[in-house]
């Protein structure tokens, strides 16, 4: 891919204690399935983001294991019950071993 994958995350900046918040994430990635053939009839090798992990203050909250059946520019949303002020760390793990991360702060008051 020409450009590096760019993660985009939407997290509310503030939440009340016990409030259920929805976190929406998107990352630009072509998610090459390994099923496609190029013009010469050769199979294009698989290159997808296989795992997405969301952590809050270093503690795992949510994990998604993606298969090649996930669309290009994968979108993922999930919920989090706000308890304390802290920081989210989102990590996308690529087949080629590289990790893409994003961090978002959440203030609970």
């Amino acid at each position: 891919m020409a450009t590096a994958p760019t993660p985009r995350v939407r997290v509310p900046a503030q939440a009340k204690p016990g409030e259920l918040i929805e976190i929406k994430t998107l990352i630009s990635h072509e998610m090459e399935s390994g099923q496609r053939k190029d013009a010469a009839g050769k199979i294009v090798p698989r290159k997808i983001i296989n795992t997405f992990v969301a952590e809050f203050n270093g503690k795992m909250v949510f994990e998604a294991e993606w298969n090649p059946a996930i669309s290009a520019n994968p979108y993922q949303s999930f919920f989090y019950k706000a308890a304390e002020t802290g920081e989210f760390t989102f990590t996308w793990k690529d087949d080629d071993g590289s990790n893409y991360t994003a961090k978002n702060k959440l203030t609970v008051a």
């Binding site: 399935s33 909250v61 669309s71 290009a72 949303s77 919920f79």
Partner: protein
């Protein structure tokens, strides 16, 4: 409505049916997963355990015009406390080249066992969703999606 229009529609319908039949004949060039492959995948995860119905809500469109981007939303009924929560959710498709779509791991910190993403579907097929609770009980649900244009890069 006159007879002619009816005839035209019928002819068009037959032509379409013919094209669909031809496509069906050509399709087997690619190998696809089927119900048996999905069953084998599930067996790998959970052995011969029994599945209950209910609790799992799988939200997929009835008809997907574009198989490349099909929204899939899963929600599992659970209080999500430290002692009673949804541990994992697996989504499978029985008509894609590979049976697996996505596997989620939830924690009590999620507050709600729900997640959505977007998937690729090669053809009209069933989506199977399994939820594993913290006490080991399993729930399953199934939904059919009709795909107008397959998302298989072909």
């Amino acid at each position: 409505m006159s007879w002619t229009t009816v005839a035209t529609t019928r002819r068009e319908t037959l032509t379409l049916a013919g094209i669909a039949g031809l496509a069906a004949l050509l399709a087997p060039r690619m190998s696809f997963a089927d119900e048996a492959t999905v069953a084998a995948e599930i067996k790998k995860l959970y052995g011969d355990k029994k599945f209950d119905s209910g609790k799992v809500k799988l939200d997929v469109p009835e008809i997907a015009e574009n198989g490349l981007v099909v929204p899939v939303n899963v929600e599992v009924e659970s209080p999500m406390t430290e002692t009673d929560y949804v541990k994992a959710v697996h989504v499978f498709a029985d008509g894609n080249p590979l049976p697996g779509i996505v596997s989620y791991k939830f924690t009590p910190a999620c507050g709600k066992a729900a997640a959505s993403t977007r998937m690729r579907l090669a053809q009209t097929q069933n989506i199977i969703c399994i939820a594993e609770m913290s006490n080991g009980s399993l729930y399953m649900t199934k939904s059919n999606v009709k795909v107008t244009i397959g998302g298989c890069g072909g």
